[in-house]
């Protein structure tokens, strides 16, 4: 398997493969098998509508092949012009919805092969891209929105953009295939100074946070930067390495891991440090066993000390000792906040990040009336309308209202997220996005009956153990096992700094509710001064501390 992916990357002539041929094959809605690996580097996943899989097989038709496309949005910020282009794609090319992801990016589902080029060209027309939104390279760089701390945030955003740019692959394949750019003169792909010809052994993820907000879940990332602020100045970052969520059921060789803090660097050194962390992983990551190829395993296989030494040997100067920091939460704050520059920002809860056509129409009203606002995607799949002048607030509220995004939501629901899973994700074993809202209905009742209707216990659900909604740092994590059945994990800390522990396996809805009810009731009765559910279950030994 791993050897396959490695072979395809090597032979791909800078990620070209036979994509151009695949796109014009009229006999199938799919692209060639090898190209499905390469297309990911271009932000394109081949999928099929799993709801129709069996039906179409009986009809002697191939699966309803379609594509998911992901556009990178470093730090989650885009302009109104960009926002409008994204929504136009939903209306005209994809299934009508726009999906905000857990990495502050956009996704479209249900795009047919013929729609790929127009879609990417639309994205390109507003100076965005899908290149490296997936694949064995650095993914969309996340950064805490923090809009209320405008000055700090501006600086953070600058660092984020520069870093994202620095780690973008250089291949011209993207232009050639999607934008009808010039073909390679000789059959020789361009150099990849940071990645080399085989790119990385596996995906690579970076986020930047400024405490107390850990909305980007910095400890779940391969590489993280924790902003250190003195006198409202961003003086540098603590560097973290080796986080990751993905695991496989029943395979103890795979597991979620929280990142370690290994030192401190100045803002101007961020690109340099990142480039060399990537370099160590590129040179030492496991290319034989793909399941063990993430950087967290490279670190566990060789030891953290080895890793830090190897890194420091490559840096201009070794990392400085880490500074102290304190996180408060890893969920979003909703509603209006005023920035220190006098502009206003409004964050709303978007159920599982999915915006539907009518909602997009209503949001367009904001874009028309206030073209200078920015649009921020949060790491929890939510949306903020930012940089609104005080007198524009009424318009924003009216349109958000029209989009159904102002309704009151319990804190429990507002703190919950689910990955996509069915019917598009080929890896999903159980429903997630389509089911979590129903399960939360039931859990709301349980919390209310226990006397804690105001609880903001962090609940996250994924359709499989890959962990796309970062369920292993949730206070209650549901991880899909089979249709209608989930493993239940308990014990996050509400700040993204503790892994939870598997508590019950392979449970259906009734078992989940019957099992959780007494625990929640006991917590409500016994917790000490506002102690969080996840902290309490660990303190009382209901689940063991994660190793």
């Amino acid at each position: 398997m791993s050897t396959d992916v490695e072979r395809i990357k090597q032979a791909s002539r800078g990620l070209r493969g036979t994509l151009s041929e695949s796109l014009v094959d009229p006999l199938t809605g799919a692209i060639r098998a090898d190209d499905t690996t390469l297309s990911k580097f271009h932000g394109i996943y081949q999928q099929d509508d799993r709801d129709l899989r069996l039906e179409r097989q009986r009809q002697k038709l191939e699966p309803a092949f379609q594509f998911m496309i992901r556009a990178r949005v470093p730090g989650g910020i885009c302009t109104t012009e960009q926002w409008l282009a994204m929504t136009r794609i939903s209306r005209e090319i994809s299934d009508g919805t726009l999906r905000l992801t857990t990495r502050q990016a956009f996704q479209w589902h249900g795009v047919l092969k013929a729609g790929l080029k127009p879609l990417i060209q639309t994205i390109d027309s507003v100076l965005m891209d899908t290149l490296a939104a997936c694949g064995d390279v650095n993914r969309n760089v996340m950064a805490s929105p923090n809009p209320h701390r405008s000055k700090l945030h501006a600086k953070l955003h600058e660092v984020t953009l520069s870093l994202s740019q620095h780690l973008t692959p250089r291949t011209g394949a993207y232009h050639e295939i999607w934008l009808d750019g010039e073909k390679l003169a000789r059959d020789e792909p361009e150099e990849e100074p940071i990645y080399g010809p085989a790119y990385l052994p596996r995906k690579f993820k970076i986020s930047l946070a400024i405490p107390p907000d850990n909305d980007v879940d910095v400890f779940a990332q391969d590489l993280g930067f924790i902003g250190i602020v003195e006198d409202e100045e961003l003086i540098g970052f603590n560097v973290t390495v080796g986080g990751g969520m993905g695991a496989t059921h029943g395979d103890p060789q795979t597991y979620p891991r929280l990142a370690d803090v290994i030192g401190f660097c100045r803002p101007e050194d961020v690109n340099h440090v990142a480039e060399h962390v990537v370099g160590v992983q590129r040179d030492f990551g496991n290319r034989e066993v793909r399941k063990r190829a993430r950087m967290k395993y490279t670190i566990d296989d060789r030891g953290l000390d080895w890793f830090v030494a190897e890194l420091n040997s490559r840096l201009r100067e070794p990392l400085a000792p880490a500074r102290s920091f304190r996180f408060g939460r890893h969920t979003d704050r909703y509603g209006w906040v005023e920035g220190d520059d006098g502009l206003w920002h409004h964050t709303v809860y978007v159920q599982n990040g999915r915006l539907h056509a009518d909602q997009l129409d209503a949001l367009e009203g904001i874009a028309t009336a206030l073209p200078d606002v920015s649009w921020i995607l949060t790491p929890n799949q939510n949306l903020a309308v930012a940089n609104v002048p005080a007198d524009g607030r009424a318009i924003v509220e009216a349109q958000l209202e029209a989009a159904g995004l102002m309704g009151s939501v319990t804190p429990l629901r507002a703190a919950s997220i689910a990955c996509v899973s069915m019917p598009t994700c080929g890896l999903g074993m159980a429903e997630a996005e389509r089911y979590l809202p129903t399960l939360v209905d039931h859990l709301e009742a349980v919390f209310a009956e226990a006397g804690v209707p105001e609880s903001d216990t962090v609940i996250r659900m994924t359709g499989c153990p890959n962990g796309c909604a970062r369920p292993y740092v949730a206070e209650i994590g549901f991880v899909g096992k089979a249709p209608g059945r989930y493993n239940v994990h308990l014990g996050g800390d509400g700040r993204g700094q503790a892994l939870n522990t598997l508590w019950a396996e392979n449970r259906d809805e009734a078992e989940i509710l019957d099992g959780l009810r007494p625990v929640i009731e006991r917590w409500a009765a016994e917790r000490e001064n506002g102690e969080r559910f996840g902290t309490w279950v660990r303190r009382t030994g209901i689940v063991e501390e994660a190793a």
Partner: protein, 582 residues
């Protein structure tokens, strides 16, 4: 001069000839006479002498079938195949495996996983459905092995492998080695199983014994008036959601129905309830009125359902209706129409349309007497796998007239049948649309919509016979996503070489309408090359499409510097251009 050795002339493999000699030696003279007559009768009765069951030697000594969702089973199957590399072993996924081959296997090895809640992997679902259905073949000399992958944290641990094992045994299969159920960490158990199989599989070249077919019963002749009663095995929609048409695939068990690819089948249908009700409503008659049809007494509703043609109209029926109802207005109107206008009415109106537009007093008996007898409908045979099955590809006719629904009789009746229903059918041979005699002759098949049906039979037949000639299919319909009839089978045929080329035209996908004749035009040069190699061309589908394709052929030859008209009429004279249009 010595008498020539008959074995040298017999079209039989040595072994069969030998068996025949043995049989002959054992028969008494009167038995010998009877047998010779019986065999001659068989040969003459039109029963196609059954093509010898493909010799076991055509299949590999061992076949490895895997059913996988996430690739584990496939990888193990590949490991086993690698281990046996160089020997007579075939590797195939359950989704691609033809159940018809199962009884012919000598040794078959399965690697299967369990998913969902005890379900097979997605693409293996149809395989398992068929295997578990009563259509599953008996397995007499088949030896099998099963490796089952699963995860013991699920309730239905390794369910699929267990069910498979039990079913194979029930069908008569002989286990080669015991089934092994593997848990999540399956590598070691799988490796041991592979070792064991390597030791226990018999991969010596199979002997060339061709099983003698059991003596056939004297087959009665099947005709339009003495149809065969078949049993519906399956009616399956084959156009996807959102299609603008509704086409379905019908499989019928028709024991003893002999046909050749290219032939059609005649189906005796009943008129659907809606059609009968519309006639009753238009005439104001009660369905329970008693009427005579021939010597039989029955109700009007039953007579209209199964004895009379209601959706097709003829001049004679209009005349009789005019006479019975003394409907001068109708007579004046119809008589006053141009011939072409009349033809349009006859083609497009059902009897209910006539009776509604020109109502008149008519008794139940008079109605039965004036209507024409029910007429069977023809459908191209879409299968050639033998096994006493016949498959059809049917497009459901339904439309509106003056805001009222109208349905085609036979296509709707067929489409609404359930498995197990009885169907009366007979073969309508179409000698002008049979495959070339020489299996090496290339064929170009051009079909739109259900016109693709006979080509499914062609490709199956040529594949089964191992015909070396190239096959080129040009298929057209409306939308790629929903109307690519038998898409999976064509893709497989292309991959496996049963099709050398496949071109498609979908008329409603792009801005411009593209039809099969456009493919003919675009591929003119390639087409000429095939014709130079002696290719036969087959065209099947709607009449208008047939004309358009022929015109495109003429133009294609012209474009490549030839005389289109001349070449096309020569092709016809040489019987190399075949048409089946309706």
């Amino acid at each position: 001069m010595a008498t020539p050795d008959p074995a040298a002339f017999a079209p039989l493999p040595d072994t069969q000839f030998h068996e025949l000699q043995q049989l002959a030696a054992a028969l008494r003279p009167e038995q010998l006479w009877w047998t010779s007559g019986y065999l001659a009768g068989l040969a003459q009765s039109g029963v196609q002498a059954p093509q010898a069951i493909p010799a076991a030697s055509e299949l590999a000594a061992a076949t490895i079938v895997y059913a996988t969702q996430t690739g584990n089973s496939r990888r193990i199957a590949e490991q086993l195949a690698d281990r046996l590399a160089g020997q007579d072993v075939r590797l195939v996924s359950a989704g691609d495996y033809r159940l018809a081959d199962l009884p012919k296997e000598r040794q078959i090895v399965f690697v299967v996983s369990t998913h969902g809640e005890g379900d097979p992997p997605d693409d293996a679902v149809p395989f398992f459905e068929r295997l578990l259905s009563k259509r599953a073949p008996k397995l007499e000399d088949v030896r099998y092995a099963v490796l089952s992958l699963g995860d013991s944290s699920y309730e239905k641990f390794c369910e699929v492998g267990r069910v498979l094992d039990e079913r194979l045994a029930e069908l008569g299969g002989q286990p080669l080695v015991d089934r092994v159920d593997c848990d999540v960490e399956f590598e070691d158990a799988a490796a041991r199983w592979i070792d064991q199989l390597e030791a226990d599989l018999d991969l010596s070249q199979p002997s060339n014994v061709v099983p003698m077919r059991a003596a056939l019963p004297a087959a009665p002749r099947i005709t339009r008036d003495a149809p065969l009663t078949g049993e519906v095995l399956e009616v399956q929609d084959i156009t996807g959601r959102g299609s603008t048409s509704d086409t379905f695939h019908v499989e019928i068990a028709a024991d003893g129905l002999a046909y050749e690819p290219g032939d059609s089948v005649g189906v005796w249908h009943d008129n659907p309830v809606l059609v009968v009700e519309q006639v009753l409503a238009a005439t104001g008659l009660a369905g329970d009125a008693v009427v005579r049809v021939g010597d039989e007494e029955t109700t009007l509703a039953l007579a209209l359902t199964s004895k009379r043609e209601l959706t097709g109209l003829s001049r004679a029926v209009i005349e009789r209706y005019v006479a019975v109802t003394r409907n001068d207005a109708l007579e004046a109107w119809f008589g006053g129409l141009e011939r072409a206008e009349q033809a349009e009415i006859l083609d497009g109106w059902q009897f209910a349309d006539l009776a509604k537009a020109y109502p008149g007093e008519v008794s139940a008996q008079a109605l039965v007497d004036l209507l024409a007898p029910l007429k069977p409908r023809l459908y191209s045979i879409a299968s050639a796998l033998g096994g006493d099955e016949v498959h059809l590809t049917v497009s459901r006719v339904s439309y509106e007239r003056d805001g009222e629904p109208r349905v085609g009789a036979a296509s709707n009746w067929l489409g609404d049948l359930d498995a197990g229903a009885a169907v009366q059918l007979f073969v309508e041979p179409n000698a002008a649309f049979h495959l070339p005699e020489d299996p090496a002759t290339p064929v170009i098949m051009i079909g739109a919509g259900t016109g693709v049906a006979p080509f499914r039979a062609f490709v199956q037949a040529r594949s089964e016979a191992g015909a070396p000639g190239d096959n080129w299919l040009i298929f057209g319909h409306r939308n790629f996503r929903t109307d690519f009839l038998y898409q999976l089978e064509w893709q497989r045929a292309l991959k496996g070489g049963d099709l050398a080329r496949l071109d498609v035209a979908f008329s409603r996908d792009g801005d411009e309408r593209r039809y099969v004749q456009h493919v003919v035009a675009d591929q003119a040069a390639e087409l000429m090359a095939w014709l130079d190699r002696g290719a036969h061309i087959y065209i099947c589908g709607a009449i208008a499409m047939g004309k358009a394709v022929e015109a495109a052929l003429v133009a294609a030859v012209d474009a490549s510097g030839g005389d289109g008209e001349a070449v096309v009429s020569e092709l016809k004279a040489e019987r190399r251009l075949h048409r089946d249009v309706y």
